[in-house]
């Protein structure tokens, strides 16, 4: 009885080997079949970051209108997306990329992974999001905009009877010692955005004195807490309603407060320190070497159209760039936009990123 079982088992083992190997090779044919060379009806591949999302039916509408099917492939965070595209320049991963932000735009442009395309769907109002001419304006089309700002727990400060901090300098005051938590710039993109905000605000140290370096050593002395990721800072350390941490100041997004308003609530329990914001814009572009340039152009135009732009706040937690887009009710009521967020020239970011981060590490995590 058991011998029979064992015989069957050994045969099964051999058969399974063949099957699995077979499955691998079938997978290969399928994959190349779904690749770049299919024609009519067209399929194009959109390479994007992990946070990409659109409501059901939106990309389907694009397919219905144009006959083009979009296959979405997430490739990590913005940095990973750009680096993957650079590494695979000789055999492109897809046709369109979305999610390159202003901190990585310069590298993407310099490495030549993008083709020139200026969408006719762009309107004058979006000018403020455009990259400088000759440094990305020709290749990258702005799609979303989201400020990264220090969020403040209103209820905590009301209860403690302390006035809320307003500026970056306030964060250095003894009254706010041990109250601020931020994700670290070397492991989190919002964390990097905050470092860039301080660099934009304070400039470089002169002869080793002042500048953002001095700001960070003061901030460290005032008990700033660093976490690895945004979720950790927001959900564990922040005292806001979604968590039960003990720090009422957290580095997050300008769009976070609407999500803390309870259903039917009229007052936002948290808010944004508008003087601490770094302006972050996400771009789309045509990947160099695509065989579907026309379809790629249509997809980029579509990303700027109202169906997508209206959906962006609810799906990706950032603001649309199209001024005609309608914001959700809670956003219109509770989300604030910084009038003058800090910005750093993308080319400067690309040139200095590694130096800034290592100098930062030496100051904040000696």
């Amino acid at each position: 009885m058991h011998k029979k079982k064992m015989a069957i088992a050994s045969i099964a083992l051999a058969a399974a080997t063949v099957l699995v190997l077979g499955a691998c090779s079938t997978g290969a044919t399928n994959a190349s079949g779904a690749g770049i060379s299919t024609n009519n009806p067209q399929t194009i591949i959109l390479i994007t970051h992990d946070s990409f999302a659109l409501s059901k039916g939106i990309l389907e509408k694009f397919t219905k209108d144009t006959g083009i099917t979009v296959e979405v492939q997430a490739a990590g965070d913005a940095g990973a997306v750009v680096n993957k595209l650079i590494l695979t320049k000789d055999s492109p991963l897809g046709d369109v990329v979305f999610g390159i932000d202003n901190t990585f735009a310069s590298r993407a442009v310099d490495e030549g992974i993008l083709e020139n395309y200026t969408s006719p769907a762009l309107v004058g109002a979006e000018d403020k999001f455009l990259l400088p001419a000759g440094a990305g304006r020709e290749q990258l089309t702005p799609v979303t905009s989201g400020d990264v700002c220090v969020n403040v727990d209103h209820q905590w400060f009301t209860k403690a009877g302390i006035p809320e901090p307003v500026t970056l300098d306030d964060l250095l005051k003894p009254a706010y010692k041990n109250l601020f938590v931020t994700p670290s710039p070397n492991s989190s993109s919002p964390g990097l955005a905050f470092l860039l905000a301080t660099i934009a605000a304070k400039g470089e140290a002169v002869n080793g004195v002042g500048g953002w370096q001095q700001y960070w050593s003061d901030l460290t002395a005032n008990g700033v807490k660093l976490t690895a990721g945004w979720n950790d800072a927001y959900y564990v350390d922040f005292s806001g309603p979604s968590s039960k941490g003990d720090r009422p100041l957290v580095l997050s997004y300008a769009s976070s407060p609407p999500y803390e308003v309870p259903a039917g609530g009229t007052v936002a329990p948290t808010g944004v320190m508008l003087d601490t914001c770094f302006g972050s814009t996400e771009y789309a572009g045509v990947i160099a070497g695509t065989k579907h340039a026309d379809a790629a152009h249509k997809l980029i135009d579509f990303l700027l159209s109202l169906p997508v732009q209206n959906d962006i706040p609810e799906s990706m937690y950032v603001f649309p760039v199209n001024p005609d887009a309608t914001l959700p009710e809670t956003w219109a009521k509770f989300a604030e936009v910084a009038p003058k967020p800090y910005v750093v020239d993308p080319a400067e970011i690309n040139k200095n990123r590694e130096r800034w981060l290592s100098e930062w590490a030496a100051i904040a995590i000696p």
């Binding site: 058991h2 011998k3 064992m6 015989a7 088992a9 050994s10 083992l13 699995v20 499955a23 691998c24 090779s25 997978g27 290969a28 399928n30 994959a31 190349s32 779904a34 690749g35 992990d50 946070s51 059901k56 979405v72 492939q73 997430a74 680096n83 993957k84 650079i86 590494l87 055999s91 590298r107 209820q155 905590w156 209860k159 070397n186 492991s187 976490t227 690895a228 990721g229 979720n231 950790d232 959900y235 564990v236 309603p241 979604s242 968590s243 039960k244 941490g245 003990d246 976070s256 999500y259 803390e260 308003v261 309870p262 259903a263 609530g265 329990p269 990123r353 590694e354 290592s358 904040a364």
Partner: protein, 608 residues
């Protein structure tokens, strides 16, 4: 294969393997056993890794190794290398010291609730690191239940988490060997007057040593490449080679430095494997497994009621299980809290009276305990796509994807692992063949020690041309998971096969059994139980795998850990609640899978 073997075989039976080796069927089997796993590793591991390394070292005018000097002169890198080794070694040591008594209690003693405890120990192993990180930090943060210990962001916290994740590896690997040990030797020693400590040190431990070393080296490799845990729990002060490679590759695109670190990782891994192998070889004089009948008798005999002498081991087990359960219970407790909109757990804080009132008025009917409303709301939400459509597919769909992929990964890992183990367990007389097998053995462990980032990026730049244009093929996900599970499979099966007395194969051959029957009736029947155990572990690893999967997963076809990561990465109390509920579901599915494996194991004892 040398001509001299023939005469030896004919004249004397001192070389049992000689006869087996000569049969053409056996040669085919050997070729298959070496060839299939080698080809698998070559294509899906070596090729991508070498592809990445060449990007780092090959410059316009040749190969440039100058990076080593420059990169090792950075103090930060030296500190990270030291930290990586120290952290992994300490964690492996703690897991072994804690795991041994637990293996004794869970695999040698007979008491109610044993099966449940066995499963509980494995749960941490499959929880996604992100979730465990949050569970640990919730426990340890200043305002948490264990806040008074001030462990948040310390090295101790990282150590606790590494042990939490990996103690199961020691318990299961050693437990499976221990269960089949013949107790007669211990009894004899005891009758002859040896103290329990002496029996342990001279009779039991030497026979366990190969599996102990196997488990410890796997734990070391897991910890040396730990990524998420170190990041989340250590804050940013602590890092490992792995976190640095991630940073260098995905953020700075400094492939030269990343390649130097990958090579460093490789050297450390190979060094540890060689060391474990050498010590293990020296210690494995005493044979473990015997015939199936004997093993079954041994397993039956070894299971006895706990005695007073077992009290310390029982105590260690209870304390450890309690510590393992603590983060899991925290997770369950938080997953049951009712969240309405973004106002999660507001009721817990009297300061927010307004929000608390609105929570209570709109909450689905639940129970209030200590001012907190509990309900299954988060679990009901799993059928949807989250607050404001955080997800592309409902969580249950992701669970389906996870199960399918994990089954495929388990199948691949088992086929490759069993074939490889059968071959490696042979000890050919030829010195070169033996050396070759050792290298083969080590190569199978390498995927554990190499950064998922390097392999993931390597896939992109090497598997991009027909016939291997697999970059965006879904088949890569189970393959990547199988790569991670493979070393566990081999380490679970191999010690048992190595323990097979070669005289058994010899007698079978002498009695006229053809080689395939020797393989079937001796090796495979002895290995059947460890194979099932390995299947359980492989399935669990595949189910919880995140690092490699996240590189390959499709947005519209995500696995459960990927979905959990996504949910925890977006604001909104409902999404956070769903992430916790989904983690509990993941843990529950794992426990259920392990329960099925345990069932099968019991059944298989009866079938023999």
């Amino acid at each position: 294969m040398a001509p001299s073997d023939e005469s030896t075989t004919k004249s004397a039976r001192t070389t049992p393997s000689a006869r087996i080796r000569r049969s053409p069927g056996t040669i085919i089997a050997m070729v298959l056993g070496v060839g299939v796993p080698s080809a698998f590793l070559a294509v899906f591991f070596l090729l991508p890794v070498l592809g990445m390394l060449s990007r780092g070292f090959i410059v316009q005018d040749g190969i440039d190794f100058g990076g080593f000097v420059e990169i090792f002169s950075r103090p930060r890198i030296l500190r990270l290398v030291g930290l990586t080794i120290g952290q992994a070694a300490l964690a492996a040591l703690i897991c072994t010291v804690v795991g041994l008594p637990i293996a004794h209690v869970l695999y040698r003693l007979n008491f109610r609730g044993r099966a449940l405890l066995r499963m509980l120990v494995v749960v941490p192993f499959v929880l996604p690191t992100v979730v465990v990180g949050v569970a640990f930090r919730t426990l340890l943060s200043v305002s948490g239940p264990l806040g008074a210990l001030h462990l948040d962001g310390t090295f101790t916290a990282i150590m606790l988490a590494l042990v939490f994740f990996n103690v199961a590896v020691v318990v299961r690997t050693v437990g499976n060997t221990w269960e089949g040990l013949d107790v007669k030797q211990e009894d004899a020693a005891r009758v002859l007057g040896a103290s329990p400590a002496r029996v342990w040190a001279t009779v039991t431990f030497p026979r366990l040593l190969p599996s102990v070393l196997a488990a410890a080296s796997v734990v070391f490799l897991f910890c040396a490449t730990a990524f998420g845990v170190v990041l989340v729990l250590g804050g940013v002060q602590f890092g490992t080679i792995e976190t640095e490679i991630y940073l260098l590759t995905t953020q700075f695109l400094d492939l030269r430095a990343a390649s130097v670190l990958s090579i460093t990782q490789l050297v450390i891994v190979v060094g540890v494997l060689l060391l474990a192998n050498r010590v293990g070889r020296a210690g494995s004089v005493a044979k473990a497994g015997t015939t199936i009948a004997e093993r079954r008798v041994a397993a039956a005999q070894s299971r006895r009621k706990p005695r007073r002498a077992d009290a310390p081991a029982m105590a260690v087990t209870l304390v450890t299980v309690a510590l393992l359960a603590l983060p899991i219970l925290t997770l369950i407790e938080r997953s049951l809290r009712t969240t309405v909109g973004g106002a999660a757990s507001t009721a817990a804080r009297p300061a927010t009276g307004l929000a608390a009132a609105s929570t209570a008025s709109t909450a689905s009917p639940g129970i209030d305990i200590g001012g907190i409303n509990y309900s299954f709301a988060n679990y009901l939400n799993l059928a949807g796509t989250g607050q404001r459509n955080a997800l592309v597919v409902p969580v249950w769909t992701a669970l389906g994807n996870s199960l399918t992929i994990a089954v495929q990964a388990t199948a691949i890992a088992l086929i490759i692992g069993v074939l490889a183990s059968l071959v490696i367990s042979r000890r050919p007389r030829n010195r070169f063949a033996r050396r070759a097998l050792d290298i083969f053995d080590g190569a199978l462990m390498l995927p554990l020690g190499i950064s998922a980032v390097t392999v993931g990026f390597g896939f992109l730049i090497t598997l991009n041309q027909p016939p291997l244009d697999l970059r965006s093929s879904p088949v890569l996900i189970p393959i990547a998971q199988a790569l991670v599970a493979l070393p566990l499979v081999v380490r679970t099966i191999l010690p048992v096969l190595r323990g097979v007395d070669s005289r058994m194969r010899e007698s079978a051959s002498v009695l006229g059994a053809p080689p395939w029957r020797v393989l079937r009736d001796v090796d495979l029947s002895i290995a059947a139980r460890p194979v099932l155990a390995a299947a359980g572990l492989a399935f669990a690893v595949a189910l919880g795998e995140f690092g490699a999967t996240t590189f390959l997963s499709r947005l519209d076809h995500p696995t459960l850990p990927v979905v959990i990561y996504r949910l925890i990465g977006v604001p909104g109390g409902e999404n956070f609640g769903m992430a916790l509920a989904a983690s509990v579901v993941l843990a529950a599915v794992t426990v259920a899978a392990m329960a099925v494996v345990e069932r099968l194991r019991v059944g298989s004892v009866g079938a023999f």
